[in-house]
Amino acid sequence: MADDALIEFSKVNFSYGPRPILKGVDMRMSRGQVIAIMGGSGSGKTTLLRLIGGEVSPSAGSVTVAGQVIHELGRNELFRLRRKMGMLFQFGALFTDLSVFDNVAFQMREHTNLPESMIRDLVLMKLHAVGLRGACHLMPAQLSGGMARRVALARSIALDPMLMMFDEPFTGLDPISLSVIGGLIRRLTDTLGMTSILVTHDVQESLRIVDYIYFLADGVIAAHGTPDEVRESKVPFVHQFIHGETDGPVPFHYQAQAYSQDLGISVMER
């Protein structure tokens, strides 16, 4: 990968209470790329995004964004850095009491002193970029899931961030909306010159649009590489994940005591 890393994870450990989530994670993410983080449910993918955004701090190691160690920043410095980040939540997290227009204008009104006429133009431009200029007067409850996510995308790029984070952007979308969101992520990353991180399960769409992929399993980076390298990978976990196989290193059954013991059956030995 290129040397101009925007984000660097260095031996990051993290746990929720006694349960370890991340164990010594090392990652480097270069500027201008779309990077996917893949892994099973509960593997700690979203935690990675929360560490980058400074919502939680690592129990050991450090996360560096644009040369700044996140957990060492004060509240004001962290908020200043967050203004350069955008995050798309899994279901959009639009403010339900504000219209589509006001949702997109929210950050501009909070963080800038731009006149309302200029905010109007900027909001319409952002909405046009996601194809929803005509929906600016609607309320979030009137939008479909795909539209809500596009509005949330317009809202998160409102201040032209250097870094965009996408938490499961493809979940619950029909194939058309899914391609639209995927295409938008790629196009906006390129045109706005930002870096995008996707946390996702969707293998096919991700392989189509990303530059680099990290696989997270049991709190460690199991594999990483470009889409072509990943497709050819012989690593058992990656192979199972990419091809959606039920049998492999990821077991079907959650860890439990012996089945016969749970059912109270004594097995006769022959």
């Binding site: 967050r82 203004r83 995050m87 939540f89 899994q90 997290a93 339900t96 929210f106 909070e110």
Partner: protein, 271 residues
């Protein structure tokens, strides 16, 4: 011997569980106090952009007007009827105006308006903040470098605090009007003595101002409980519904308890 040991164990478990509950409640009270202090500290942006607070006064205050006014009218009418019924036995039915007005401005106005406010506006505040948390709107706001406590919680808190005394005052006014309707218009008590007795026996400083102070206290308590419960709610449907119920129950109990304490300090039989 074994029976004694098991009994001792059971007693220990009971004492432990009581201890856990007490410590848990005190812990929660501490968290709530800290949260309210945080809200107060972060109130300045709301005051600088007063339209945020005005909006909340509309939602908490103006939208509660109907229930407050209608309830006030009926409470005043009932007070008028009951007061007349009792007072006429002693031939002093003209004092019914005094009875209605004093009952309302000292006690019923602030207390019933507060109870209604807690169930109408307090529960809505908790549910709204709780749902915003459950649908990640607060997290999204934080990621946009906007502090949800300053932007969402503080304006709601102040909106409620400003609305409560105004609502209590309107409740009392409607109540007095209800009492007037029943006793003067329908029953035929002399209008002049109804108003003049009321005027001479209701003291502005002692009765009305104390009533307003009470309702200010209730406003602070209700909205503090409502915003804390909303912000602290587990982000699930069950969590939000539980928080909403707790808001209504806790603030109703707090209103009644606090009312006793305030009354004990304010009204000592001196006029």
């Amino acid at each position: 011997m074994i029976g004694m040991i098991s009994l001792a164990k059971r007693i220990k478990t009971v004492i432990e569980s009581i201890g856990h509950r007490v410590v848990g409640s005190i812990w929660r009270l501490g968290c709530a106090t800290r949260f309210v202090l945080l809200v107060l500290l972060k109130s300045m942006p709301g005051f600088l952009r007063f339209h945020l607070i005005t909006r909340e006064i509309y939602f908490a205050g103006v939208l509660s007007l109907i229930i407050i006014l209608v309830s006030g009218l009926f409470v005043g009418m009932v007070l008028g009827l009951q007061g007349y019924e009792t007072l006429q036995k002693f031939g002093s039915e003209s004092a019914v105006g005094t009875l209605v007005a004093l009952s309302l401005v000292r006690e019923l106005g602030p207390v019933i308006a507060a109870l209604l406010f807690a169930s109408r506006a307090g529960s809505a505040m908790t549910a709204e903040i709780g749902l915003m948390k459950a649908t990640e709107q607060l997290a999204a706001m934080g990621m946009m470098a906007v502090d949800p406590v300053a932007r969402i919680v503080a304006p709601r808190f102040w909106g409620g605090v400003f609305s409560m005394p105004l609502l209590a005052a309107m409740f009392s006014v409607m109540g007095v009007f209800g009492g007037y309707l029943v006793t003067v218009v329908f029953i035929g008590v002399d209008e002049g003595s109804f108003w003049s007795q009321m005027q001479s026996s209701v003291d502005f400083r002692y009765d009305i101002v104390n009533g307003v102070i009470k309702s200010c206290f209730f406003g602070v308590v209700i909205t503090a409980i409502a915003v804390f419960e909303g912000f602290d709610a587990p982000p699930t449907a069950e969590g939000v519904s539980g928080a909403t119920t707790r808001t209504v129950v806790t603030s109703s109990l707090a209103i009644l308890g606090l009312d006793f304490v305030l009354t004990a300090f304010m009204f000592r039989g001196v006029s």
